[in-house]
């Protein structure tokens, strides 16, 4: 039986809420956590999309989703580090596509300094083909979100998605865990019921 519950991690003082879902079997819990960055989450519909899509879902290893992130407060990076240490996966979605330049700068610095992920400036995606091409965890095309925050060149990790020929998502092993960065928001597509986005996430859950 799947039991959903919402609880605060040790970061309650920072008002970061994390939704935890466990299998309730008494064995090591398989969790899907969606981290609400509050004012540092730029797209509330992205948060809602991930929450809806992950409701009742379980994973073999811990999975922490950070939707539409701008700045990364210490509490958030602490939660991410904790997840990675436990061999889990962190899915970090950029929320800087529509952000003001000052917020974009903070975003870029946070990714570079705390996660060693270097990203370029947000850019409009061409309207010629309105999709982002994902190669992993399964090849699929998912609706873009008009603007993307592409990855800078030459960095470790495996590129897993492209838009207009630019790399926009990567996965990287960090210790026993895996960091996934996506520079084109998936949450709004999940929120709007996009089939391919849901399948992509389900595939991630099943790994």
């Amino acid at each position: 039986m799947v039991i959903g519950r919402r609880q605060f991690l040790g970061y309650a003082a920072t008002a970061l809420t994390v939704a935890l879902r466990t299998d309730g079997s008494g064995s090591e819990p398989s969790v899907v956590s969606v981290l609400d960055l509050k004012e540092h989450c730029s797209l509330r519909e992205s948060l809602a999309g991930y929450e809806r899509a992950s409701a009742g879902c379980v994973t073999r290893r811990p999975l922490l989703i950070v939707p539409a992130a701008l700045a990364l407060p210490a509490a958030a990076t602490g939660a991410m580090a904790n997840c990675l240490r436990r061999g889990g996966t962190v899915l970090l979605e950029s929320g800087a596509g529509y952000a003001a330049e000052s917020d974009c700068r903070v975003h870029r610095e946070a990714l570079r300094n705390r996660l060693q992920v270097r990203v370029a400036a947000a850019r409009f995606k061409s309207r010629r083909v309105p999709y982002v091409d994902y190669a992993w965890p399964s090849p699929t095309k998912i609706r873009d979100f008009s603007r993307v925050v592409p990855l800078a060149e030459h960095q470790s990790g495996e590129i897993i998605a492209w838009a207009d020929g630019f790399p926009v998502a990567l996965k990287r092993r960090i210790g026993s865990g895996t960091l996934i960065y996506v520079g084109s928001p998936l949450g709004p597509a999940l929120w709007a019921g996009d089939t391919e986005a849901r399948q992509w996430l389900s595939r991630l859950f099943s790994l």
Binding site: E45, Y98, P130, F145, P188, A189, G193, D194
Partner: protein, 279 residues
């Protein structure tokens, strides 16, 4: 039923007060104010200035039928950019505020815009979620939000049943439909829209439509009452059937090239014929 016409129909060089005189003289009972479309009624117009507009309308022997806006074409509630959505919501809130100041209980909103960039499913979901809290604000102010059926132009909620489902999903008694009988083009029949929406209709926009023309080039698909393809006896009968006894608001896209004031008289008389059922 009462007759109204948009203040955006007032010839550009006439000014508001002279326009009000024309509206009254042509036999209308009220005027529809278009926020953002006319120089006298902008987002920057203060409450005091809005009250002054009302005083002028009162002095002309008219009332305000509703507050409309075309601003949502540029700033839709369905935009991906949260800043644009916030601006769109702010426009609706200002419409509600000014409706109260102007003594009317209805506003017109173009709820969403499907584009090549922003797909249908996103637009639908965003509009539903935006209209719920806005409906609550409208209800507190005693105002109803009428989402206009701009079918072809919005590429959204093309059929009457889908529009009805949308309103059901919004699930707020303060949110209904501002039904435009000209906007249905060749995708359906206005009388069927009236039948399906009945008590959810907040206001009715009147214009005729040339169904064969379509939206091609710079030719308007719209025309004056009784010149196009709408089935006016059926439309009138449908209003009776559902008990609609509210405002009828003329919205002519194509303006008279000469003697623009004549369009007001002609439209008013045509509306009288429609209301009387002598068709």
């Amino acid at each position: 039923m009462k007759k109204s016409i948009g203040d955006n129909m007032i010839p550009k060089d006439w000014g508001f007060e002279r326009g009000l005189e024309l509206v009254k003289k042509a036999g209308f009972d009220g005027i529809e104010l278009w926020l953002g479309d006319v120089p006298w009624f902008q987002m920057t117009t203060t409450d005091a200035q809005v009250r002054d507009l009302r005083r002028k309308i009162d002095n002309a022997g008219l009332v305000v039928s509703n507050v409309s806006t075309g601003l949502h074409w540029a700033a839709p509630l369905s935009a991906r950019d949260p800043a644009v959505r916030a601006q769109a919501a702010h426009i609706v809130e200002r419409q509600i505020e000014t409706a109260v100041l102007l003594g009317t209980d209805a506003i017109l909103v173009v709820a969403g815009l499907v584009t090549e960039e922003v797909p249908y499913n996103e637009v639908y979901q965003r509009c539903v979620e935006a209209l719920r809290p806005l409906g609550d604000k409208a209800a507190r102010a005693g105002v109803k939000i009428g989402c206009e059926n701009c079918n072809s132009e919005q590429r959204f909620l093309i059929s009457p049943r889908e529009f009805a489902q949308f309103l059901t999903d919004v699930n707020n008694a303060a949110v209904g439909i501002h039904l435009d009988v000209g906007n249905i083009h060749d995708t359906g029949f206005a009388e069927q829209w009236i039948e399906i929406h009945g008590p959810r209709i907040t206001r009715i926009h009147l214009k005729d439509v040339l169904k064969h023309r379509g939206r091609s080039g710079d030719q308007s698909v719209y025309t004056n009452l009784f010149l196009g393809d709408n089935n006016w006896p059926a439309i009138r009968a449908a209003m009776t059937k559902v008990g609609y006894d509210g405002w009828l608001i003329a919205e002519m896209e194509a303006r008279y090239r000469y003697a623009p004031d004549q369009q007001f008289y002609d439209t008013s008389q045509a509306m009288d014929r429609l209301i009387s059922g002598r068709l």
